[in-house]
């Protein structure tokens, strides 16, 4: 028996319980609207604090590629937006297949005794603080990338412009790999839930038609769960876009736009973290805040885009079925 439930009390009005419903309703409503209010408040405050920079640079802030904190002050956001997009895309490129592999193994293939420990271990990755990932990136991953990974990639694909230059293991490529590792727990955990939610009769139906295990997973399970998996990917992308410490410790912090992944770069979040504490000039402070606003708008656009994509994917699924 549940220790808190009195089974004989059903139907008998109790003061605490009659008060409970409206209280609960009010509490939930206030909390829900509070979140909306908070978002509006953040946007308003950021916009106000960014006024000076918006007035000074106008749209030039969004197209400028120089950030010069020494007079004459010039602030532009392009290198940071570019770096954020490139590293996040890399993170998805490396992270999504691995995460899906983990999720499929855990929900479809793993023997039951392995499932729980493996789940715990994957989720533990999410509990590692990002500064620890950063230190690991500096002292372990960076050297490994420089010595073993990047020269090999350069030997094979060196003719591509994205793999040229002096590869030193502190670059957009390494930052993308770190980010991939950091978003794996998020994507794999949420995808696993989506896969577990697929009804067994889907699998049984596919198997009864003679599908192999891979075909069953692909046709019956992944297709059924694709909206949930897409949501998981977007959650991971959200983390990658906003990640600060681990990126700033591995990306090389150079405000440059270069096509090669082996060149250094800079992301919005890492640049704000690097400079906010010591920015004393009001215009620089204002420009940093506007950068924060840009990051927020970017996240918003990514989310809206994702919603649209999910909607389209689902509709197409219905049409096919």
């Amino acid at each position: 028996m549940h220790p808190f439930r009195k089974s004989q009390d059903f139907g008998r009005p109790m003061s605490a319980e009659t008060l409970g419903d409206p209280l609960f309703q009010w509490f939930s409503t206030v909390v829900a609207f509070g979140v909306i209010g908070l978002l509006i408040l953040i946007t308003v405050i950021l916009s106000l604090a960014a006024q000076e920079s918006i007035r000074t640079f106008g749209l030039g802030f969004l197209s400028g590629n120089v950030w010069n904190p020494v007079p004459p002050l010039v602030f532009g956001s392009v290198p940071f937006v570019y770096g954020t997009l490139v590293t996040s895309a890399l993170a998805l490129l490396f992270g999504v297949p691995i995460s899906l592999g983990i999720a499929i193994f855990l929900s479809e293939l793993s023997p039951p005794w392995l499932r729980i420990p493996l789940t715990y271990i994957v989720e533990l990755l999410a509990a590692v603080p990002s500064v620890v990932y950063g230190l690991w990136g500096i002292f372990v991953l960076g050297p490994v990338m420089r010595v073993s990974v990047e020269p090999v990639v350069q030997d094979i694909f060196g003719f591509l412009p994205i793999f040229q230059g002096n590869a030193i293991g502190t670059d957009k490529f390494t930052a993308g790999v770190i980010l991939a590792i950091m978003i794996i727990p998020t994507i794999s955990a949420v995808s696993r839930e989506a896969l577990l939610a697929v009804p067994d009769n889907q699998r049984e139906a596919a198997l009864s038609l003679g599908a192999t295990r891979w075909e069953t997973t692909r046709v019956a399970v992944l297709r059924y769960a694709r909206a949930g998996i897409f949501g998981a990917v977007i959650l991971g992308l959200g983390r990658a876009v906003g990640e600060t410490m681990a990126v700033t410790m591995t990306i090389g912090n150079r405000n440059a736009i270069s096509i090669s992944l082996f060149d250094q770069g800079q992301t919005i979040a890492s640049w704000i973290a690097n400079n906010f504490l010591n920015a004393t000039d009001p215009l620089e402070l204002s420009a940093l805040i506007e950068l924060g606003l840009v990051l927020m708008l970017m996240s918003l656009l990514i989310n809206i885009f994702a919603r649209l994509m999910i909607g389209r994917v689902l509709r197409r699924g219905e049409g096919a079925a």
Binding site: V70, I168, T170, T280
Partner: protein, 382 residues
């Protein structure tokens, strides 16, 4: 899916375990609160406890934290010094806004900053040296370098270690032909200010728009903090960067000898940095304009050329701070400052933390500054 009896059993066991966890957490919380309350009862606050609040430069942070703990013990816990690093800029902002009792800054106040906070005294409390640290296979400490060559490297004009300008300074040394990776600070920092000021002084191509706590770097990769730059240099072969002396000593990094105005190549050390500080012939008054005080390229055969003072900023008339300043606090602040700048007090802890002790001329200057501090017009140190 229909719930089987096993499912229900598992659910029930799960919820029972949850209750157990909740009870355990509550018990632990209660025990902690009880311990905290008991500790408070058994160890009442000493009479007239005073907390001095400071913030600013991170460079002297380890030293000031050491002072804070030693001084707290010496006064039997009566005076607590709470210094928060956060950068010189943050410190100057805080003392200008009068939200702290003193600030730390690696750079002297600019005229505009002085105008915003009139009556601030500069009290040099220790000296910093910035080293050129590198990681080149086969090279040990003591590569000969000049400010001009360093400027060319950080401008991206010299890109390989065997460049003729470097080998000319190091006859007989075999230099590798590998590409130089430049490492600089990505955060805003007083260390960057000292380093870029020195390059501006020595290299005509390093113009004044490249001098500051944070600049638009022509080349190189950025890392946050001295520890970050040191980490990058140690893990990237053929790299060079600038790091505070304390960090290079503590992590045994290889550092260059820099040519000083006397023409000697000098290794950075406590002694060569102190020599630079001792070479200054005259100082402004403590309340005067320190903007032009520099011990870059100091005179003296053994002076290390890339050094700078770091300052404590204190109001000469402490009632400027406002109602949060009391007679007891003002007295405690002046006593603490006096203790900090003397060998019998704070300076004896400097060397072990790799900060050069203040030379006697500077101590005398600091004494003069501290004696001039007043509270409501009354002097606090005779």
């Amino acid at each position: 899916m229909a719930a089987t009896p096993e499912d229900k059993e598992r659910l029930r066991r799960g919820s029972r375990r949850h209750v157990g966890i909740v009870v355990a957490v509550i018990v632990i919380a209660l025990v902690l609160v009880a311990v905290a309350v008991l500790a408070g009862l058994l160890n009442p606050a000493p009479a007239q406890r005073v907390t001095l609040l400071g913030s600013g430069a991170t460079f002297p942070y380890p030293l000031i934290t050491k002072w804070s703990s030693v001084y707290g013990n010496e006064t039997g816990g009566r005076v607590q010094v709470n210094y928060q690093g956060g950068g010189s800029g943050a410190g100057i902002q805080a003392i200008t806004a009068k939200t702290v009792d003193f600030a730390g800054s690696d750079a002297p106040l600019k005229p505009s900053e002085r105008a915003a906070a009139p009556g601030l005294l500069h009290i040099p409390e220790t000296i910093g040296a910035v080293t050129a640290a590198y990681n080149v296979a086969g090279l040990s400490s003591g590569l000969n370098l000049t400010g001009h060559v360093l400027g060319e490297i950080f401008l991206g004009k010299i890109t390989t270690w065997d460049h003729v300008n470097i080998s000319a300074l190091n006859p007989g040394l075999v230099l590798p032909s590998s590409t130089i990776t430049v490492v600089h600070r990505s955060d805003s920092s007083g260390t960057t200010f000292v380093w870029t000021s020195y390059l501006h002084l020595e290299n005509p191509g390093w113009n004044s728009t490249l001098v500051g706590k944070a600049i638009n770097w022509p080349v190189g990769i950025g890392a946050s903090g001295n520890a970050g730059v040191a980490g990058k240099i140690q893990t990237i072969p053929d790299s060079i960067g600038y790091v505070e002396l304390a960090y290079t000593v503590q992590s045994s990094m290889k550092v260059g000898k820099i040519r000083n105005p006397a023409g000697n190549f000098v290794l950075p050390s406590l002694a060569s940095t102190a020599a630079a500080a001792a070479s200054v012939p005259t100082f402004p008054t403590p309340s005067g304009d320190w903007n032009n005080v520099s011990i870059l390229d100091a005179a003296g055969a053994n002076s290390y050329p890339i050094a700078s003072f770091t300052y404590l900023l204190v109001y000469q008339e402490l009632n400027t701070i406002g109602t949060s300043m009391t007679q007891a606090k003002a007295q405690a602040l002046v006593d603490f400052l006096w203790w900090c700048v003397h060998d019998s007090g704070g300076q004896q802890y400097a060397a072990s933390l790799v900060y050069p002790p203040l030379p006697p001329t500077v101590v005398t200057l600091d004494e003069q500054a501290i004696r001039s501090i007043t509270f409501n017009g009354q002097t606090l140190h005779s």
